[in-house]
């Protein structure tokens, strides 16, 4: 008799655990990051005099139905997409800075500037045309200032955002360390803490959008995380990352709290650091070079000519201010448009040779084998071209990520209809079985009365 009770008791426990898990699956059907769970059932055998007897079933661990390999692939895609999305956002800002809807962009400003000298060459003594030159020059200078300041602003905003990302990473590492404690405690008593594991997977997915990392599991079931080969999380201890910029012009470094330099390759943080250290400074350098070349070349020609009022040779732009952020028109020229040097000979008001020399600069390949206009066009188009390519890459990667997510959902997601139909199917089978049992009981009673 004992074996019968054992079978029934183990059956009741197993059935109860199974139903609880099904109910839990259903209740969490809409919970983000929840993995479907199932009970591992193990048969129990009892050995009597060498022969094995079935003693029912043992309800084992409740395990998560989840594909770890897909999780890793999703995290890799998250890293790539996190970086691409950050690039897309910043390149979008850069494109908006360089290309305006009104069309008054740097290439047009340069073109207008040199074209106004062409008009002056037709009538070198016309004071109104000289004022037009000053107006176009100021527009060009303002554009350089606005672009220079705009780049600095985007860089500053990106640096602030990097600080926020680092805070998020540090917070996620702490959260994962906390789940490690819970998982290790359960592991120590031979149990599986599925809720903490789900939470950990979700946190890892969030982390993977921000930074690239590798994970391993230690002997206690706890997760270890390495970033750029450096251990940043082990057991309950999580290191924190700090940004480091020694002075405004220098590059941003990332350090762990133990002082080690961190090398990040993928994810939002890596992209933003690359933007701060490489992409934006590169654009700033190109913009400064363009401003500096215009100042030098225009001044070189301008100082060889004369204005209407005297025989003094003057710079058109202030030669001490040669960056995009500082470029300025010479104060004398600004206050006396007559000092614009259209003539190549002092005292010859009708001479236009110097003005023609300045016009010639428009079509000369003075910088990188290209004209100023071509250089400006290349510079302002660069963010837009890169952005277009990034957007296309994002679409491809998003499709791949969606496919992986669907695969994971089909493995670990809870299908409410499936769970319900399963319950109803079982209910019908239980009812059928019970009816057969009742019929059988009458037959046993009849026979017992006869023997």
């Amino acid at each position: 008799m004992k074996d019968l009770f054992e079978i029934a008791r183990s059956g009741l426990i197993a059935s109860q655990k199974n139903s609880t898990v099904t109910a839990n699956n259903i209740a969490n059907a809409d919970t983000p990051g929840y993995s479907r769970q199932r009970v591992n059932l193990q048969p129990v055998d009892y050995n009597i005099n060498g022969s094995s007897m079935g003693l029912g079933v043992k309800a084992g661990d409740v395990v998560r139905v989840r594909d770890g390999l897909i999780d890793k692939q999703i995290q890799l895609k998250n890293q790539e997409l996190g970086g691409l999305n950050a690039n897309s956002r910043i390149y979008g800002q850069l494109e908006s800075l360089f290309i305006t809807k009104s069309g008054g962009d740097l290439d047009k400003n340069i073109s207008d500037f040199f074209n106004s000298f062409s008009d002056l060459a037709n009538n070198p003594q016309d004071i109104n045309l000289r004022n037009v030159i000053l107006s176009n020059s100021q527009t060009l200078v303002n554009k350089f200032h606005s672009l220079g300041n705009g780049l600095n602003q985007i860089k500053d905003e990106t640096q602030n955002d990097t600080g926020n990302i680092i805070n998020k990473i540090n917070s996620l590492l702490k959260d994962i360390a906390e789940t490690n404690i819970s998982i290790a405690h359960s592991h120590a008593v031979g149990k599986s803490d599925n809720t903490s594991k789900d939470l950990q997977t979700q946190k890892l997915n969030d982390l993977s959008k921000l930074i690239d990392f590798n994970t391993t599991t230690d002997n206690n079931g706890a997760l270890e995380i390495r970033i750029g080969g450096l251990l940043v999380l082990s057991g309950s201890h999580a290191s924190s990352i700090k940004p480091e910029i020694t002075d405004p012009g220098s590059k941003m470094n990332l350090r762990l709290d133990n002082g080690k330099l961190l090398n990040v390759q993928k994810g939002q943080l890596a992209s933003e650091v690359k933007m701060i250290n490489n992409v934006i400074p590169d654009l700033q350098t190109k913009l400064d070079n363009l401003a500096s070349n215009i100042v030098q070349n225009v001044n070189q020609v301008h100082t060889s000519g004369y204005g209407l009022n005297d025989s003094v040779q003057r710079n058109f732009f202030d030669p001490s201010k040669t960056t995009a952020a500082t470029i300025q028109i010479n104060q004398d020229i600004q206050t006396h448009p007559g000092d614009i040097a259209a003539s190549s000979v002092a005292g010859e008001a009708g001479n236009n040779q110097n003005a023609l020399g300045l016009v010639n600069l428009r079509d000369k390949n003075v910088m990188n084998g290209k004209t100023f206009f071509q250089n400006a066009l290349g510079l302002i188009s660069e963010p837009g071209i890169t952005l277009s390519s990034i957007k296309s890459e994002i679409q491809t990667k998003q499709s791949a990520q969606q496919m992986l997510q669907n695969q994971q959902d089909s493995v670990s997601g809870v299908n409410l209809d499936e769970e319900l139909s399963k319950l109803i199917k079982f209910q019908n089978a239980y009812q059928a079985s019970a009816k057969v049992m009742v019929a059988g009981k009458q037959m046993y009673d009849t026979l017992l009365n006869m023997i």
Binding site: M1, L4, F5, I7, A8, S10, G11, L12, A14, S15, Q16, N18, S19, T22, A23, I26, A27, A29, L41, P43, G54, G56, V57, L416, E419, L420, K422, L423, I424, K425, F426, Q427, A429, Y430, Q431, A432, S433, A434, K435, V436, M437, V438, A439, G440, K441, M443, Y444, D445, T446, L447, L448, N449, M450, I451
Partner: protein
């Protein structure tokens, strides 16, 4: 009279009891398998075992009928009261050697009782599983608030809501 019973009827009864013992061994095995199928949530196996169980009951019912006929026939010869024939009584009234049939009767009695208890255990398990299922279904209905909409003859909704599920707890 008693000699007639021993030579003819008792040998037939002995054969019937042997068949019933084999039948109840099979019943025991089928019930054990059903318990395991319910515990393991193995729907396919449970359905298969239910149909096998029905077939087997028909077989057992046939064996039981022929046993009843043989017992009635033998019992008539030793007792005028044939309304409730019983093998144990027959063996008591018979003065000759009944060792083999007695042993088989004890064995059958033990096996039928075992199967009876096993079927009660399975019934308890099935009732428990059904109750859990009903509770789970109720919880699902409560959490998902899955209700259908009732449309009247003009094709408009009339405000009544209908549950998508109905639960037969009687089993």
């Amino acid at each position: 009279m008693e000699q007639a019973v021993e030579t003819n009827d008792l040998s037939l009864l002995l054969h019937s009891v042997e068949n019933l013992i084999i039948g109840y061994d099979q019943a025991d095995e089928l019930l054990q398998s059903q318990i395991h199928a319910v515990i393991a949530n193995d729907f396919e196996k449970l359905n298969d075992l239910i149909s096998r169980q029905i077939d087997h009951y028909e077989e057992l019912s046939g064996l039981e009928s022929s046993f009843r006929e043989q017992l009635s026939s033998a019992y008539q010869k030793v007792s005028p009261d044939n309304s409730k024939p019983k093998l144990a009584k027959l063996l008591q009234l018979y003065t000759g050697s009944t060792g083999r049939l007695n042993a088989l009767r004890d064995d059958l009695l033990r096996k039928v009782n075992h199967v009876r208890i096993l079927s009660l255990q399975l019934l308890d398990l099935l009732k428990y599983a059904q109750d859990l299922n009903v509770n789970t279904l109720r919880a699902v209905m409560a959490t998902t608030e899955q209700h259908g909409v009732h449309y009247n003859q003009s094709g408009k909704t009339d405000g009544r809501s209908i549950s998508n599920f109905s639960i037969d707890q009687k089993g």
